[in-house]
């Protein structure tokens, strides 16, 4: 009994250490950049970082569900774009109220996710291939629907304010945190709850941990995988709303490469690419690390191509640190 409870402590201990580690890395980045540049730690710049995290954060949340279930989703970037396009079509071309635009985006993301899930579970396509196909389909569809040119939201719709307005600022004057940031945090909260407290989250861990065992336990793998990919897609759809609001338009050519940032954020945050492990808090911290880095390096006028190199190195060291941590906690 005694031995059991101490293992229990050890387990939670290791989890906490990991979160602390990612969080610690974030703090260190902040300190270093603040010392290096007086422009870094200012309210407007920090808000800028928050805003630029919102989209990647939402995509990363989506992809976290899928990686935990033992899969991968390469289509999050272009599906986000397709969601944005569908929102723009609904609001501008069809003249419907914003709420229907939001709905269109979220439904598009969820639907694309569900299709991914069905391809993986029912047709047994490898997730990498299935979502690579979806990446192209979604990208192509965006271009077809928009006829290759961006759709702008008319100003009077106020679409822009969905992400860039600040409800908080009107309540607490001077505290102008844009809605997009709040939406990301709200989504993270809900996603965390789904992942750790509901059956769908539990089954994501179960399937990612040992799919055969889950199947023999009587789980309907087709149903649950589809659901998991659909939930992931839902957050991607929300990401589509935010990006459309930030740009006040749907840019059909956008989206390629976003999937890699999202996967990187999840991995930096401790989501295991072999499935069965991870949490939303880590993923969000991972997303912050990436955007803080990008922002800080830009302020220090590091050329963009070098920023990319540094991001790559950060991903590698994050994963390596995670391996070291696991080794340490195994003993």
């Amino acid at each position: 009994m005694k031995a059991n409870s101490s293992t229990q402590q050890k387990k939670t201990g290791a989890d906490t250490i990991q979160r602390l580690m990612a969080f610690g890395a974030l703090i260190i980045l902040f300190v270093v950049f603040s010392l290096a540049s007086p422009y870094f730690f200012t309210l407007s710049n920090v808000i800028g970082i928050l805003v630029s995290t919102a989209v990647n954060g939402l995509l990363a949340i989506g992809v976290t569900f899928i990686i935990i279930s033992g899969g991968i989703d390469l289509s999050v970037g272009t599906v986000m774009t397709l969601s944005a396009v569908m929102a723009a079509v609904t609001v501008r071309n069809w003249g419907m109220p914003n709420i229907f635009g939001v709905l269109a985006a979220v439904l598009t993301g969820t639907f694309a996710g569900a299709v991914n899930g069905l391809m993986v579970s029912k047709l047994k396509l490898p997730p990498f291939i299935a979502t690579l196909g979806m990446l192209n389909v979604a990208r192509g569809l965006s271009l077809v629907i928009t006829d290759l040119s961006p759709i702008y939201f008319p100003l009077e719709t106020g679409w822009n304010r969905i992400a860039m307005g600040s409800v908080l600022g009107t309540i607490i004057p001077g505290f102008d945190i844009p809605n997009g940031v709040l939406i990301m945090f709200g989504s993270a909260l809900v996603a965390g709850l789904i992942l750790s407290k509901t059956v769908i989250g539990r089954y994501a861990f179960a399937i990612g941990s040992n799919e055969e065992a889950a199947r023999l336990s009587g789980l309907n793998i087709v149903l649950w995988k589809t659901a998991i990919y659909a939930v992931g897609g839902l957050f991607v759809g929300i990401g589509g709303v935010i990006i459309a609001a930030r740009l006040n338009s749907a840019q059909p050519a956008l989206g390629l490469g976003y999937e890699l940032d999202a996967i990187a954020a999840a991995v930096i945050g401790g989501v295991s690419l072999s499935g069965g492990e991870g949490n939303i808090l880590g993923t969000i911290i991972g997303a912050f690390i990436i955007s803080t880095l990008t922002n800080g390096l830009r302020i220090l006028s590091v050329p963009q191509e070098w920023q990319i190199v540094v991001t790559g190195l950060i991903i590698l060291s994050a994963v390596y640190l995670d391996i070291l941590r696991k080794k340490a906690s195994a003993n």
């Binding site: 293992t7 709850l193 059956v199 990612g208 941990s209 336990s217 492990e277 003993n331």
Partner: protein, 508 residues
């Protein structure tokens, strides 16, 4: 009122290249323990997986409580009241014990999983089983035996009418097996029908009421346990007479120390483990679960680090940091959990067998000499009579016992000097067990040194030249074969809080 729970008739099942079952029949009454026996690959697991909804029949009928049924998936089987403990562990290692047990039927409170209820219910089941285990412990942190107990707890939690145990005792030691039998007897008294697959003949007499024998996918017979001798059953299983090998202790026992381990320690798991292994010796390792036998083996093999301790091979100190170091020193280790550590399930039989010697089999440029690989693995397959349609069969499609033979064969092909076998005969049928025993004897006679970890005392007693007994991470006994009786071993195996480790560390 009919007491027949299950009636399976004329069951046919084909897999690509194999007719696993041909017109098999089976029936189960309320309140009976019905054993199902047969050689490796006879079709026992397949027949039961059909009943549990995992496979669909190609022909034949299933009647459940008087009604003809089809069982399309595991979930349907569960709701009908059929639950099964599988031959292979099927747990989700990242989840806790309770989460594994209640997977698919979590208690919820307004959409959220009610972990408390789940943990408490699990605790209740564990208490019924006299099992001291924390429901919130992650399965990956448990030993194989504990994991097996979690599987059993899971099967029990369904309160099923039909309970299928596919070689449940394979991963358990005597104490836990006794506990399992107590539970089975209790369920039987409550009217549950229990199907019990085993290769341990002594268990048949102890627990079963009737026995059905399969051979090569065919139904042989169903007999009453009380009216049948074990030999008759074995004859039905294999269709020939089996000779039991006795220990072959050489007259002149070598005093040449091949492997010496001094004061191996790690946390609570290993405490000052010291012993010596002689040339040409079969050294048995006995003990209860958690005694530290597997941990010792893994530490020597470099699979896990140690806090302190030294290892000498042929008198020279060696530093084995990882398994490849051990292999370079001609040590082979057959792990107890074949699925996790022993096999590449999606590779074919041939590749699995020659995996440890791939480097030897390839030319300078890394080109693999396929012919050699073929002959070597063909030899092993014949030697161990591994039942497979071809050498290209994927390991995951072999029956459990045949998978185990592949793991054994893999290390035989390696031709190492020091062989550590962790539960080498788990899940292997009586005939093949004898073949493995004679192989071990032969290897020892050739001058190879063997460490054999086993939870089956009769096996330890029959095979070992010398027996090391462990308890709670310590070496508590070191017995020569003449002193290695069941009582003696059990005495040392339960010597908690020390015993005299110093004294017993010397070979007698």
């Amino acid at each position: 009122m009919n007491d027949t729970l299950v009636l399976m008739e004329g069951i046919d099942k084909r897999f690509p290249g194999v007719q696993a079952l041909k017109g098999c029949q089976f029936n189960l009454q309320r309140g009976e323990v019905h054993a199902l026996v047969g050689e490796n690959g006879a079709g026992k697991s397949t027949l039961m997986k059909i009943l549990a909804g995992i496979y669909q029949v190609d022909g034949g009928t299933i009647t459940f409580k008087g009604e003809q049924v089809t069982i399309p998936n595991p979930h349907t089987a569960q709701t009908m009241g059929i639950s099964m403990v599988h031959q292979e562990l099927n747990l989700m290692s990242h989840l806790t014990a309770a989460q594994n047990i209640f997977i698919g039927r979590e208690p919820t409170k307004s959409f959220l999983i009610d972990e408390n209820t789940q943990n408490n219910k699990t605790k209740e089941i564990f208490e019924l089983m006299n099992l001291n285990l924390d429901p919130t412990m992650r399965v990956s942190k448990m030993t194989v035996a504990k994991q097996q107990m979690v599987e059993i707890a899971k099967a029990l939690s369904f309160n099923a009418d039909v309970l299928i145990f596919d070689e449940p005792s394979g991963a358990l030691t005597d104490v836990e097996t006794a506990e399992l039998f107590r539970i089975i007897r209790q369920l039987k008294a409550e009217g549950t029908g229990i199907i019990y697959i085993t290769h341990r003949m002594e268990e048949l007499k102890e627990i079963s009421d009737r026995i059905t024998v399969l051979r090569d996918g065919l139904y042989v017979n169903t007999v009453n346990t009380r009216e049948t001798s074990i030999n008759e059953i074995i004859n039905m299983m294999v269709g020939r007479v089996i000779y039991e090998s006795s220990p072959e202790i050489p007259e002149e026992r070598s005093q040449e120390i091949v492997l010496e381990v001094k004061n191996l320690s790690r946390g609570n798991e290993l405490k000052d483990v010291s012993f010596q292994l002689m040339k040409g010796e079969i050294l048995g390792f006995a003990g209860l679960i958690g005694a530290g036998r597997t941990e010792t083996a893994r530490a020597i093999f470099g699979a896990d680090p140690v806090d302190s301790g030294e290892v000498f091979i042929n008198g020279k100190p060696v530093h084995i940091k990882r398994p490849s170091d051990a292999v370079a020193h001609d040590i082979a280790y057959l792990s107890e959990d074949r699925k996790r550590y022993g096999l590449c399930l999606s590779l074919d039989l041939k590749t699995n067998i020659v995996l440890p010697i791939y480097q030897k089999l390839s030319s300078v440029l890394g080109w693999v000499k396929d012919k050699r690989a073929y002959t070597i693995s063909k030899n092993i397959v014949d030697q161990l009579s591994i039942r497979t349609p071809s050498l290209e069969q994927k390991a995951k499609n072999l029956s459990g016992g045949n998978q185990q033979k592949v793991v054994v064969g893999k290390w035989l092909a390696k031709d190492a000097d020091i062989l550590i076998f962790d539960e080498p005969t788990r899940g292997i049928d009586v005939g093949a067990k004898q073949e493995i025993y004679s192989l071990l004897n032969e290897l020892a006679a050739q001058g190879k040194s063997i460490i054999m970890i086993s939870s089956e005392l009769p096996e330890i007693i029959r095979m070992s030249h010398r027996v090391i007994v462990m308890c709670e991470g310590r070496v508590t006994g070191n017995l020569d074969y003449s002193e290695a009786t069941q009582e003696n071993i059990m005495k040392f195996a339960t010597m908690r809080n020390g015993g005299n480790a110093k004294k017993s560390a010397q070979p007698s």
